[in-house]
Symmetry: D2
Subunit: 301 residues, 4 copies
């Protein structure tokens, strides 16, 4: 099986046509852009990829497209995001068929479950489909944090191969790093240097779609122990990341963030259009211009 | 189109075989049992029906089965529960095809949306499938409450036909009742009399699977203004409802509640087995015996 | 000792001079106004009385003033609101000295305590000062709900005489009413009829400062079982209560609510000025005019 | 006025006699112990100092004692923790009289205030008492986070001199560091190295009472850019910090943590007894022995 071993693994945006169908040529260009930039893997149908908005067929087609472009150059991770075990297992099977090298699953959500039921959830997924399993800790979406004890237990028995931490809890992440040999990724764009400082193996930055080279520089600086350089790159990327607030006040923060990432990719010539899924509110002309200004300021245009 | 007009509309349990496949004969018996008991409608694939646990095909098959049993005797409402608009619309189409008379949808979840995006969500669903649309307000699962202003706006323009309130916020429900002509249902088993006291039109009680006659008595007493009788029945049902805590301490509260409802239906001879979906933890023998004792105390056995 | 036995017990506003000193003549007039209106008790230094804003000396002076006006006509309850046991006990002693007939204390706050520590808290207060003790359940301020089990335990051993429930959780209140013989009060202005319907003994309505007669009518209708009249009065009071939103968007909801109550009392000629404590934002002219319009609409002016 | 300039500033424990009076000789020894260990300041009546549990006179006496021991050797910061502006100002005056060099105040709590009211709160405190003012951001106690914009605004106009961040939000702390010239302290014991890595000026570690030398080594390593040494020391201190869980399951986490800190100080011969305030639950013999084992493991005994 593919070995996950960290590095920069952006959660790939899912380009849509104006009719909100999958824009295959744009997705192909995006995947190639990211691989050419030196990314160590691609995470398809993650939160940034609008997984929660995509019908099943669109999810699996996006995965096929990216797996086709990668063709083994880098591992392709697939988000298998759904409410509970039986539904997640269906996605797991489909993702394997579509070419995924590893699967990324959250704890159950919507249904009021309990941490005592999390181990059974991940074990059933792992038993159903033979691919490395990554636990995705994202309390803001799931409504509960994956307890460290659960992660440690599931690392010890081989259920999990890796952890993607989008909780922002560096203390908890540190505890997992100390207690397991899981490959750990952080989903934080703005604390990436700190994540690497504490020993996290990889980064999954949404805005890495727009500036993969910046995150690669940050990662490489950290790897060679040049913390001053890592921190300086992080400072630049923090400034760029403010672009996610471009629509604040007029829409939800996710509409704003995903809209900004996609507009940034349009501005850089990678994808054709910035359409986002319903019910997200589209950026208007002023907001789109503001995105471009941010990219100019970050020397990406 | 079918008119929703309140009454007792239990969220139908979804019986499963030991292999966790849909147990069609049991579901047929359950639907018949509830219709015979005088229920005014049946709500299929709601939270109590384990909707968040059922693969798509199981959801739609359960709906077909219940619609087949009802054969127009009572309206069949279908929960079309998923994270965001495009996915919910797919369920809406399938539910209509499977025989639903009305559709029940929540606000988006998992994806961080915002109240400003809720109207677009419900309007797109209503535009896609021509069936009465019920807004399902269930903050414990969705993570946010449907603001009264949004409900009022969507009532005024005809997007919504009804509201199912599982928020426990009687003050907010009262505001909707005052400001709209929506048919309103409360999902609370223990405040049903209060819901009817403030003018709510209907009840959607999970434990109504086990004791539909009790809720019918409560509803009828309220309808004729006999509040003392309504309150007395509510007191009895509150006691019965404590059965949901049968597994407390050993499992999540949902495992305990759904397990108890199903075991109660087994005890009453309506369904064959009490199997619940993964990753729920099954009741053990002691807990199952405790369920039966509760039913004896409530004079249901 | 004074017996608490329910009825309407408004949480008395604390009038301030423009320099934010206690306005004693206004407070005397307010206490007399409320007693003349038939209130069954007065709750001094509660949340509506700005207890969390008043220096100790102002708290105790306000209590002395109201106890002096009452002179035994009605029981005077004193809020002894502070972070933890030793500080609350100091208030308890001072309140007894200032003439309180009963004491109202919350669970600890600010300091991260735990329900397992709540019984010791209330028992130590009760042991330190020999006055009836009322548990004040106000999760919005305290950050945690008083568990039913704790209330039941402290009722059983005589620590508590009463419960003031400002949690909005009618289901939990019902559980306390079923399991104890505590005198129970609800702090909800908008669900007062429902509170009485389930057997709650008394009301503690903030806006009862402005319209004590309305709450008395509601209470008396409920007492005689005239639920239609109780509900109709509640509908009128719900409309009046919307006055608390007069400053929404420009200030916090508490600045708006307390400002509105005080302005209402000025408009009705009971107190001299509407000054509120720092850091609350004062109502402006437009907002004050809106308060008066609401009072006109409610036929209070 | 005293200049705050970072370094290690432990929040001093408040030793109590078995009768729960201030144990002055123990407090004198503790203050001397910490100053001898090279601490750059002492923070009296902070959360670790049980400020929320201490009656006013105990608070001020503790401050006098520590100020007396310091006698100008290091700055003495005083927590002036209370619900709202008028009460906090009373503490501010008393703290200045008792010898404080700087004041540490939170946003209002208990009373439902709003961020729009925070600037008025801090400005009124600063205007009332002429001492450097430190904003204390501790959402777990206060219930809301100090917004970055508010901190920036109050830094710009000179209201604030410093920020003590106990929010755990390193991203927000980074934003303050980038946008202001405030002296910033982190209250996190387990992320101290990361705090210093991003440019935070000082540490306020509760367990620094027990191991001040460890935090000094960590701080000095970071100052000279030796991140490997800082991280190694942090790893050791993280292990020691697990002592706060010694009473888990039998008491609240604060009872456990404060009990452990005090027992550690007893074990090290600094204070006489480990008594904590009501309603905290005391450690039992087993738990006290476990504290000592941790200190042995950390080579402090």
């Amino acid at each position: 099986m593919t070995q996950l071993d960290g590095g920069v693994v952006p959660p790939v945006c899912t380009p849509l046509t104006p009719e909100r169908e999958l824009d295959v040529p744009s997705l192909e260009r995006l995947a190639a852009f990211l691989i050419d930039a030196g990314m160590h893997g691609l995470f398809v149908t993650g939160s940034t990829g609008e997984v929660a908005y995509l019908p099943d067929e669109t999810r699996y087609r996006a995965l096929e497209v990216v797996a086709g472009v990668s063709a083994g150059q880098v591992p392709v991770l697939a988000g298998i995001i759904d409410t509970t075990t039986p539904r997640v297992i269906e996605h797991a099977r489909a993702a394997k068929a579509a070419g995924a090298d590893a699967l990324v699953a959250t704890a159950p959500f919507y249904a009021p479950t309990h941490p005592v039921e999390f181990p059974g959830h991940f074990r059933a997924i792992r038993a159903a489909v033979d691919l490395p399993l990554v636990a995705y800790d994202i309390p803001v979406s799931v409504g509960s944090k994956l307890p460290t004890e659960v992660v440690v237990e599931l690392a010890a028995d081989g259920t999990l191969s890796a952890l993607k931490d989008s909780s922002g809890d560096l203390d908890g992440l540190r505890a997992v790093l100390e207690a397991t040999d899981l490959v750990c990724y952080t989903g934080s764009e703005t604390l990436a240097d700190l994540g690497l400082f504490i020993g996290t193996h990889g980064l999954v930055p949404g805005i890495g779609n727009v500036d993969p080279h910046g995150f690669l520089r940050l990662y490489q600086a950290a790897k060679r122990g040049d913390w001053a350089a890592a921190r300086a790159e992080q400072t630049r990327l923090r400034k760029l990341f403010e672009v996610i607030h471009v629509g604040d006040g007029r829409m939800g923060r996710y509409s704003s963030a995903i809209g900004a990432f996609k507009e940034g990719l349009v501005a850089r010539g990678v994808i054709t259009g910035g359409t986002t899924s319903l019910p997200m509110i589209p950026l208007n002309d002023t907001e789109r211009a503001a995105v471009r200004q941010r990219l100019v300021a970050a020397e990406l245009l």
